[in-house]
Symmetry: none
Subunit: 219 residues, 2 copies
């Protein structure tokens, strides 16, 4: 069985939304895919007949084992291409997502395996997200949200919560990127902002929203 680019994008979106909570709603999908809820309903019915997901009207949706396998394949391709664009072609880490959105739909299985080998079987993409291997397995990284990082523990940035250009723009301006070493100096309960200090720089304050969008690991 083969799938259109549109179908693949639905499956990928459901996969990502499912990470948080078990079932995914029509409205959530409508929001991330930028299509009307009515169109989402139509597509869900279609994907159900293709056995990629279980769906009952008004009850939300969940990927089947088959659907999950497909999703992992797409995510694998997306992240391998991101790695290629960043490491081989020297793109900025804020540019790679958009291009990978197209490359991820190229179908050749052999291409994916050759690319993986050429890149040296990388396990994380430029945003710190794990790259599924050819069996769909991902290395889990002991990564925590910056908002949860204990005060005065040195850590390094290992992931971001979204690929939005707004976030990436802010990070660029704040001079934060993958591997940046930092620690939390203080917490302000009023607005949940944090004072952080990047190694070798003066401390400064970041918002709760930004802190929640950053993942770090202890060093």
């Amino acid at each position: 069985m083969s799938f259109s680019i549109t179908e693949e994008n639905y499956i990928k979106a459901i996969f990502h939304l499912q990470q948080e909570d078990g079932t995914v709603s029509t409205n959530d999908l409508s929001a991330v895919l930028q299509t009307k809820p009515a169109s989402v309903t139509d597509m869900l019915k279609k994907l159900k007949t293709k056995k990629l997901l279980s769906y009952e009207r008004y009850k939300g949706v969940r990927l089947s084992a088959e659907g999950r396998r497909l999703a992992l394949g797409i995510v694998r391709k997306h992240r391998l291409w991101e790695y290629f664009l960043f490491n081989t072609l020297q793109f900025g880490w804020d540019e790679v997502h958009e291009i990978a959105e197209e490359l991820e739909h190229v179908t050749s299985k052999k291409l994916v395996e050759k690319l993986d080998a050429f890149l040296g079987y990388p396990r994380f993409d430029p945003h710190g997200d794990p790259i599924p291997d050819s069996h769909g397995k991902m290395t889990v990284r002991q990564q925590l949200n910056l908002i949860d990082l204990p005060v005065n523990k040195m850590a390094e940035v290992s992931g971001v919560g979204s690929q939005s250009s707004e976030l990436l723009e802010l990070l660029k301006h704040r001079n934060i990127s993958m591997g940046t070493k930092l620690e939390v100096k203080r917490r302000f309960s009023f607005d949940h902002s944090l004072e952080i200090r990047i190694k070798g720089q003066q401390p400064f304050i970041i918002s709760q929203q930004l802190a929640q969008a950053l993942f770090v690991k202890l060093v």
Copy 2:
């Protein structure tokens, strides 16, 4: 203005058919695109309104300057990706075309330029076809370096890189002279040596230095 993958495939097909004779017929297009003539007619009308070609009913079709520019851009992408697949990812030269058919539709301009730079601005793809540069210009090849001769293409020796007696001595010993017909059987990336076969003889291996000193033309 942007174009669908289908529209791009029509433009590319017209471009290739146009190489032979000036105008292209509905039936020829129908044959290479594997669609019914009626469908071709519909698309030609559409592409005419987009000013990519000139078309009058029953009279065949010709690309406009705009259409030619678009076609060259697609051919450029196709051949750069073929070069990448063959030279970087070590695909067989018979496998690259099919995969490049998908990659050629990825839209990022910057990707094409970065890929071109990464590959070292190659001027010919693995089949020996010229790669248009970013302005759409192609090198016309009459004579090429033996090191660039695609595998399994019969060619004849048409020139040498120097007149040094050392070179000529070696050529005499190897039994190679002007007009000798040969083909490349294999390439060894380790030392860039080539296995070649002179028509009617057993294959043997020559060094990179020797290959670079020989010019051939396709026969």
